[in-house]
Symmetry: C3
Subunit: 327 residues, 3 copies
């Protein structure tokens, strides 16, 4: 038998595929993904979906520990990562009371990260400050996954949005995606638009004038070849829409409350609204919703926003497995 | 070999006994249990007890995930469900910071439930509002277990109380149960009395006049054949009592503090109090206690209130296994 | 075959080594450890280190449940115990919202402990009051591990500090340990000094005059044969120091702020400071640090304070395994 050459780092557990994409890497920004990367992640996310449907949980990450570090509460995202890790047979250190804790009292984020990586194999970080995930990643020798850094990025949300489209409609290329609501401040739609620019899609923006997609971002995406159009009413584009992505229009964004009252109805989805929509299309929302989509829509098979949550778990399972070299 | 007919729903994991009682069902109210149901639950709870005593934990619910959703803190109940799920080899998503979280900021309970059931196989819900569990159950396609909905119900508490009686005294029929303290506002004693009405027992109520068992409830239980009597002093009934169920008399319930001072001593259990009690009887309390039972009583073998906590874990293990089709 | 005699207590799970040191015992104070005990703990802690480096987690405590009861938040200690238990295959009941919970509203610590031991096999307790761990231990029939009781003790911190020294420098006897900063109020240095008195070491204290090591403690350790000297400047002793243990000098301790400003610089470690230190020595800190050690020092191989965190996990794994009879 020929000699075996072992190039594993010292103490690295057996069975980790070091050459796999994203092994040992941080997930900080949507900017780091190529189209090929995304297709690779989605292939694995779909495998995760099949496995969960078949067996509920499995032991792919048995022996791995996730530090779930939330500087601000986000039940949805925190629970999703916890479920993802547990369904892979791994363990979770929940750290959600950070604001009351001595760790936050003056301790720098790098020190907290370097402490937690002594205990855990991967760190999920939610922080209220833009750039926090990048700082954490700089100091961490274990993978850091950005679970939202204030007005910055929330890359796993963008990935799960895109995965939802693929799973629900079978493809991404060739679709018409309409984004509705507050497109100015919505971190979610900005990130999703960036990912969509990697595909051959048509994007419509429908928003009140004062909440339009930022011009710089439109220009940037234009430069990357994304087909974009702006509208102020949904009716014009809904009949051709394959994906209607709804976000919340917050009253607080309006100086002129009369203006708010006059436009808000135009951005609420009801069964009536959907009458002119295709039979095969989907309605998405990052949740929580507060009135943007009427509860009467929930039973419509086109309402995909709760399934969207479930897809999120599969995407996070895929990312956890990949950065830990077990995908 | 004859052909096998498979009636499992798509994607339903193998090994779940769909025909078993409570499989896929919600546990919302004590009203949903027949005497046969209770005996069935207790048989399984006793199996759980034996297994825990023998092996600590076992993998009956391996692969299952519990969302432990607490809108108000309750360390005791939350810990009990967590321990129950972990001792069955399942995983827990702890969600206890709800009040600080975006999930609670305006998101409706149905939306939170529909999000969490994307991640979890069963949801335990503690809520401050009466009826919350019923609303959650209406929207959930995964089983919801009510862990207390404000002034509403707390069915697993009532079941564990009854299970404690059976385990400690070997039977329920034929016993005399004396309830002591605040019987007007005590959710616990109301639910227990309803369950006791399914058995052949004698119930005594001992309370200050202003904290008597509600007349409507007494009438209702009377109609169901429960033998009930009211007293204002414990001495009259303690010698014949098999189960003394103590609850807290809260100062805040009294407008007249002089009245409170005059009666409170009559509702505190001390070793002296128990001198006229049977040798084979038990003292119960839902805990936390704040002076209703003297710590001097703790070493008396009749003091069952800490064992009661342990029985609670077995009952919750039984319910989790049953609703997940693994009992 | 000769008859087998079974001396296990009823219901005690098979495989527990009852005769092993610390089996079923509480870990409350550093005073309870002999030198032999410490060497025994460290042997096991080192085995834990090797196992974690090889396989990440293993199932030594599968079937065991830890109640992680924190009356005050301490992310670092709480996470460390959680990781320790999870890496041993055990489960954790996280209880960190105690202050908001009914458990804390008037319920006595003994009652809370007796409730939790119904669910769990071992209890880790962090409390703001001195003596809390001793009270808990008195009432518990399951092992209690003190994770800090206010100004009292924090024995696992002292053990991990000592273990760090042994792992980093290969021995404890013969070393010179210099403690720097606030030696008056620092629980950490007091406990470490007590453990060091069991070994043949030289200890230097360097602090502002008003923050000196308490005279009674110095006397006590003197009586136990520990070689101690006091200094007001680090330069005098640093060249001979093998272990520099840095603690925080808090502004709040000074009535005279001018005095604080004049001394604080003398107690901050920078790369410049370490120029006169040995090449083979270590810098330790219990963390969190707030400026006592410059971040420029972090990349110096002598900076051991983040490795110290990791050693803490191994020590806690060892203690958990030992008190549960599985070491």
């Amino acid at each position: 038998m020929p000699p075996q050459f072992n190039t594993r780092p010292a103490h690295l557990p057996l069975g980790e595929r070091q050459n796999s994409r994203f092994y040992g890497q941080h997930i900080v920004s949507v900017k780091q993904f190529s189209r090929l990367d995304i297709e690779h992640i989605f292939t694995i996310a779909e495998e995760m979906r099949i496995m969960v449907e078949r067996v509920g949980t499995f032991d792919l990450l048995k022996g791995k520990v996730l530090a779930n570090l939330f500087y601000e509460p986000s039940t949805r995202t925190s629970s999703s990562f916890t479920a993802a890790m547990e369904r892979l047979g791994g363990s979770v250190i929940p750290i959600s009371e950070v604001k009351y804790s001595s760790v936050s009292k003056g301790e720098s984020l790098p020190d907290t990260i370097r402490t937690l990586q002594s205990y855990a194999d991967v760190i999920v970080l939610r922080h209220h400050e833009k750039g926090a995930a990048e700082i954490a990643a700089k100091y961490a020798r274990k993978p850091v996954i950005n679970a939202g850094d204030g007005p910055g990025e929330h890359p796993t949300q963008a990935l799960l949005d895109l995965f939802t489209i693929r799973e629900e409609l079978g493809r991404i290329d060739g679709l018409t995606v309409t984004m509705l609501g507050d497109l100015k401040y919505g971190r979610t739609v900005h990130s999703l638009a960036k990912l969509l620019a990697l595909f051959n899609v048509t994007v419509n923006y429908v928003s009140p004038d004062i909440l339009r997609m930022p011009a710089e971002l439109v220009d940037e995406l234009d430069g990357r070849g994304l087909s974009q159009s702006q509208f102020s009413a949904l009716e014009a584009v809904l009949p051709k829409t394959d994906v209607l992505y709804v976000t919340r229009v917050q009253k607080e964004r309006f100086d002129d409350l009369a203006l708010y009252e006059s436009v808000k109805g135009a951005f609420v989805i009801t069964p009536e609204t959907l009458k002119i929509a295709k039979q095969k299309m989907i309605v998405m929302h990052p949740l929580p919703r507060v009135g943007e989509i009427s509860m009467d829509v929930d039973d419509d098979p086109r309402a995909a926003y709760f399934r969207q949550m479930e897809y999120g778990m599969y995407v996070r399972m895929a990312l956890l497995a990949m950065v830990l070299g077990k995908a």
